[in-house]
């Protein structure tokens, strides 16, 4: 690095800069085993420091590599010559905590595990718990879209991050939001899991979850792996979703015993660590069912504990599972493949066979509940022949998982370790599109180069161009887009012929054509114990619902589409037919270019099909509370409510809340439910649905500004939906002014009044230029349903 660059750094950062060789060497490695050495290490403290670095990098042609605690397992934080490591170890603050709305803003250096002591007194927790969570940072978790054992029930990091404050590579600072107040496409999902290649994160808005009433941890052991994986399938088949469903093989059991933090039954060839949490009666029931199942299947041992200390010791063993294997060899190659749940046994068998073929020891641990396996190969890096065999086996494991329609990375990321294996999983069109997205947001390739997404040329396939109004296949959609492109006229298309619905019950997923309606999906799942826990209007097609980012009142419990969409196949405006995502819950290979479609209103591509996750259907019951004053609406909503709305009555509100549980409670009068359905169905008439993200004070203020009470209020956490005369809507948003923490948007098929941040608008332009440079996608999407 040139002297002038170093001088500029020295002047700005003073003691928050390291240039000595020995110190730089400590910032060139992560937990993957790789190492290199950056030219400098800096510890920024705020946005200004980051913007300075971005400007400096442009001016002096330096590269920037963000780093948290360096616990990544794919080499994402490794930095070499020409780079400045940007360590977030001194940006560790919790910026704000709003316990009532269950949101927290934290800086990227905040250690994940240190959130818990802060949140516990409020009865809240942050579910993503990668094994490293005691030391890894939120910034690192966001970069990798970290998973962890609890992902099987609560989902991965991305599901719990709904806002980001970023500095992008043009040096601008801005906010990105997702979920209920998302102005356009899901840009948060694009940045989450991008492995620090698209923007610097300055702070993340986390979605917190109520601590479960009861937690029971079960340790069930079996003689061999087959019996263990069969048991996993049996649990899933019973429609139980435990909070964790972990799997350890014999080698791990023995190594953890040697570490001495916990003990397992003797002779165990496979151990499952299963945790149930939630309402006490649910936990008791699920534990009893699991215990019965264990007895029936002749488990070697079955132990249940509710003691926090004992639970901690059981988990300590599991969390150290990667590093304990270091007891078997000087170096460790850890894999991170994910397959559809019912293919787990096949995948394990493939791993065993591959290891045997190459004469290697393999120790496998995994998140069996979501099909995510970590085969670990211990070896000696100085033994060249052995290293070669390990890497060959590693490659074969990835091929085997892709053959089972899985992902080559469930939670560790691509980093630099798997960059060259990306073509196993993606075609040249997909690889080219991801590279183009990267170039659009970081044209000079300054941020973390050589990681996650390779700089490959765009491949736009030539082929038949034929205008088809109602295509029947992906290829026909592709041909129609090509025709529009060559003809120079915007695309006109209907997806009504793409409506096959294919549930995959053992995997708890469903694939459906983009033109299928939600009613058709519901029909296909009738009589099964599963449901798509997402309730947009039933008449909407999946394409409409997803591309609008529509959501029903049930978002309270189930979240918005981003929590349910697992994969999408679509045609871009340039005619590439691409498939991103897989029918698996954990998948961090490449950019998330499928959730990006949510809310994009058709301007990025024409969807052909989607894959969603399904959840066990549970009976539900309504509760009613009368006379709730406006300022108490937030807190009056039961914590576990899946849906809630309020109707004005005698100067106060009557609150209706839907909770999950045995269907025995109260059912709202048909006219009340009718109001809800009607308000959501009747659009753009004399009244309007105003969708606001508000604090308690903001809610009271909005109701005051509304003067005549709104017809309907849907309160909870970050969002309130008011039904007010249309003219009033604008007055309310203006009156709210500063009290409005995020921004206002309107319900489906409404005019958007919210001010989009400059950064979001610029990113939108940049991405639309990548996905649809000829602007053929501007008109096809009506969002009106088919």
């Amino acid at each position: 690095m040139e002297q002038s660059t170093l001088d500029a750094l020295r002047q700005r950062f003073g003691t928050a800069l390291k240039l000595e060789r020995h110190a730089r060497q400590l910032y060139g490695y992560d937990a993957s085993g790789g190492h290199d050495m950056p030219d400098a290490v800096v510890y920024p403290r705020d946005a200004e420091d980051i913007r300075f670095l971005v400007a400096l990098a442009h001016e002096h042609r330096a590269l920037l590599v963000p780093r948290g605690s360096g616990t990544g397992l794919s080499g994402g934080a490794i930095a070499g010559a020409g780079t400045i490591t940007v360590s977030f170890e001194r940006m560790r603050r919790l910026r704000s905590l709003d316990a009532a709305r269950r949101r927290a803003w934290v800086q990227p250096g905040h250690v994940n595990g240190l959130l818990d002591p802060v949140l516990a007194p409020y009865g809240l927790f942050f579910p993503p718990d990668p094994a490293s969570h005691r030391v890894s940072t939120i910034g690192g978790n966001v970069a990798e879209n970290a998973g962890g054992p609890h992902a099987v029930k609560y989902g991965v990091t991305g599901q719990h991050v709904v806002g980001l404050e970023v500095v992008d590579m043009s040096g601008r600072t801005g906010a990105l939001t997702a979920g209920t107040v998302q102005p356009w496409a899901d840009l948060v999902s694009l940045v989450v899991g991008s492995e620090g290649t698209l923007a610097f994160v300055l702070a993340a808005e986390l979605v917190l979850v109520e601590r479960p009433q009861e937690v029971a941890t079960m340790l069930i052991s079996f003689r061999d792996m087959q019996a263990g994986t069969d048991f996993v399938s049996a649990i899933v088949a019973q429609g139980m979703i435990p909070a964790t469903l972990e799997f350890l093989d014999r080698a791990h059991v023995e190594a953890i015993e040697a570490w001495g933090v916990t003990h397992y039954p003797e002779g165990a060839g496979a151990v499952l660590l299963i945790e149930f949490d939630g309402l006490r009666e649910d936990v008791v029931r699920d534990v009893a069912r699991t215990e019965a199942l264990a007895a029936e299947r002749q488990a070697l041992g079955c132990k249940t504990t509710r003691d926090p200390e004992e639970r901690e010791s059981l988990w300590l063993g599991r969390r150290g599972a990667y590093a304990v294997i270091a007891r078997y060899g000087r170096r460790l190659l850890t894999q991170d493949v994910t397959v559809p749940r019912q293919r787990l046994t096949e995948m394990l068998a493939a791993v065993e066979r591959i290891a045997e073929d190459h004469g290697l020891m393999v120790a496998t641990v995994g998140h069996a509940g979501d099909g995510n396996l970590h085969p670990n190969f211990p070896y000696d890096p100085d033994d060249e022949e052995l290293s070669r065999r390990v890497h060959a086996a590693n490659d074969e494991v990835m091929r085997a998982c892709v053959a089972l329609d899985g992902s080559i990375s469930g939670e560790h990321g691509i980093g630099e370790d798997k960059l060259h294996q990306m073509p196993i999983m993606f075609g040249e069109q997909e690889l080219g599109l991801m590279a183009a997205v990267r170039r659009a947001l970081d044209p000079d390739q300054i941020l973390n180069p050589g990681k996650a997404v390779a700089d490959l040329p765009r491949v736009i396939p030539a082929g038949e161009a034929r205008a088809t109004l109602a295509p029947r296949s992906a290829e026909e959609v592709q041909a129609a887009v090509r025709a529009a492109r060559t003809g120079g006229a915007p695309l006109a298309i209907s997806l009504r012929e793409l409506r096959g619905v294919r549930p995959d019950l053992p995997n708890l997923t469903l694939e459906a054509g983009a033109g299928a309606t939600l009613a058709e999906v519901e029909e296909a799942l009738q009589g099964t114990p599963l449901e798509l826990a997402q309730t947009s209007l039933r008449s909407l097609t999946l394409a409409d619902a997803v591309l609008l980012g529509d959501y029903g009142p049930e978002h309270l419990a189930a979240g918005t589409w981003r929590n349910h969409l697992l994969a999408a196949k679509y045609v871009t405006g340039t005619g590439e037919l691409v498939r991103f995502g897989r029918p698996v819950v954990k998948n961090v290979a490449g950019y998330d270019l499928f959730r990006l479609l949510i809310g994009s209103r058709g301007s990025l591509g024409v969807p052909v099909s989607f894959t969603f996750r399904l959840l066990p259907r549970r009976p539900e019951t309504w509760q009613r509370q009368r006379g709730v004053p406006a300022e108490r609406l937030w807190e009056a909503v039961p914590q576990e409510a899946g849906a809630a709305f309020a109707v004005p009555e005698d100067g106060a509100f009557t609150l209706f809340a839907r909770v999950r549980g045995e269907a025995s409670g109260f059912t709202p009068a048909p006219q009340a439910l009718g109001r809800l359905a009607d308000a959501r169905g009747r659009l753009a008439t004399s009244r309007s649905l105003l969708d606001l993200a508000l604090s308690d004070a903001g809610l009271a203020q909005a109701l005051r500004a509304a003067q005549d009470p709104p017809a309907l209020v849907l309160p909870r956490a970050a969002r309130v939906l008011l039904e007010v005369p249309r003219a009033r809507a604008e007055e309310i948003t203006q009156a709210l002014g500063e009290a409005q923490p995020l921004r206002a948007t309107y319900g489906p098929r409404h005019v958007e009044l919210h001010g989009v941040g400059a950064l979001e608008a610029d990113w939108r332009k940049a991405l639309e230029r990548v996905f649809d440079p000829d602007r053929v996608l501007v008109n096809w999407f009506s969002g009106e349903g088919s």
Binding site: R21, H22, Q25, L26, S69, T71, S132, A326, R327
Partner: protein, 412 residues
């Protein structure tokens, strides 16, 4: 083996948040993983072992909390020893009082002389130091020392089961505590006796500062004396010394004559709380609210966590200090060399005790006791600090007949 310890590390980083110096600095260079990587670089000749690079080994508290957090089983103590040996080789000049300390404890005769002198002038010295309002070491430390409270334990008559190693600082400033341990153990049915004063210091402080040669000479004296006494167990009232006795085999790696002897001694190392708890000793219960600070080496080196707590739970209203398992900043001579870091650590801990409302802080190591005394004195907290042996001695054991019978039933 150093190489093995280095190779074991897969850089997972689980040690980071366990490390007191990392938590204070947020700097990889001040973390166990960073120190291991530096050792690796130096061993391979990629990094030169200059003073700047080695500084972090000096800054390390040596509490070994990282070892307890390490899934791979890295023996960090060896890496630290390597770093400290390199530092020593560079003849770094210690402050005068530290050099004086090393010179004194290196010879048993000097320790004995110091003990006698302290009996005479200790009281005055402490009063003088307090009167001067001394806060910083070494005088602040002097002000915090307990007043000399010698006690004699009658010599054991029969064969000795547990030999109590007197140590260096223990023998000078806590000589009464050593004797009280012997009395307590006998009450619980263990025939215990003090080792002779001519045995001297175990060598831990010298080894931890990198002077391995001197440490070996000192260790040989301990081994010989232990063999002559023919006891089953060797007990130290200082957690750091106990852990170091356990590591004697590492000190004599590759020494055909001494290594097996060191191994025999290491296998005999025990701890006073463990022995008492195993004998079923029951303290006469009080109602006082008390708390406990682990000795890092007792906890992380010897793995003694539960027995002292089990005893204290019966001795009063025991409440766990949230940071009990984290170093108090004493760390051998660390508080002499790095008073600032050490002071930051202890003042945070004193506030925890205040929040708990505990009236007594029980420790298991003289260094910790002194560090806590300084912390409590300087913050004006109304709490007493004492060694677990002194605490149990004062409270008294419910002398239980069964344990004596048990002891009688065990031959030897």
């Amino acid at each position: 083996m150093l190489q093995e310890a280095i190779d074991r590390c897969v850089q997972c980083g689980f040690c980071l948040q366990a490390c007191p110096t990392y938590r204070l600095t947020d700097d990889e260079e001040q973390s166990p993983r960073g120190r291991i990587a530096l050792a690796k670089g130096m061993v391979r000749g990629e990094i030169s072992p200059d003073a700047l690079t080695l500084q972090t080994f000096d800054d390390c508290l040596g509490c070994r909390a990282c070892e307890a957090a390490c899934p791979s089983g890295v023996h960090y103590a060896e890496i630290l020893m390597y770093g400290r040996t390199e530092l020593h080789r560079q003849r770094r000049r210690e402050p005068w009082h530290v050099r004086m300390l090393y010179a004194t404890i290196a010879r048993p005769g000097r320790i004995a002389w110091a003990r006698r002198a302290w009996r005479l002038v200790g009281g005055i010295a402490i009063r003088l130091a307090r009167g001067l309002g001394a806060r910083r070491p070494p005088f602040g430390m002097l002000a915090a020392l307990p007043k000399p409270a010698p006690q004699s334990a009658p010599k054991a008559t029969g064969p000795v089961q547990a030999a109590i190693h007197r140590g260096c600082l223990m023998n000078v400033f806590w000589e009464g505590t050593n004797a009280r341990a012997a009395i307590l153990l006998r009450q619980a049915g263990v025939s215990a006796d003090l080792m002779d004063e001519s045995v001297g210091c175990c060598g831990a402080l010298h080894a931890h500062e990198g002077d391995v040669e001197t440490a070996r000479a000192m260790a040989r004296r301990v081994i010989e004396a232990f063999e002559q006494q023919g006891a089953e167990q060797i007990v130290s009232l200082a957690g750091g010394c106990g852990a170091f006795l356990k590591e004697y085999p590492d000190l004599f790696e590759g020494d055909a004559a001494w290594h097996p002897r060191a191994e025999r001694l290491a296998a005999a190392v025990s701890d006073v709380s463990t022995l008492l708890a195993a004998q079923g000793a029951v303290p006469a219960g009080g109602s006082e609210r008390l708390t406990y600070q682990d000795s890092c080496h007792l906890r992380n080196g010897l793995g003694v966590v539960a027995p002292p707590r089990a005893l204290l739970r019966q001795a009063g209203e025991y409440c766990e200090l949230p940071s009990a398992g984290q170093c108090c900043g004493s760390a051998g001579v660390y508080n002499l060399v790095h008073p600032d870091v050490s002071g930051t650590i202890i003042s945070g801990k004193v506030e925890e005790v205040r929040a708990l409302g505990a009236k007594t802080m029980v420790t298991a190591n003289p260094g910790c006791e002194l560090q806590w005394r300084m912390g409590v004195q300087q913050s004006g907290l109304d709490a007493r600090v004492c060694h677990i042996v002194d605490y149990l001695y004062e409270e008294g054991l419910k002398t239980s007949a069964p344990s004596e019978q048990q002891a009688a039933g065990t031959p030897g």
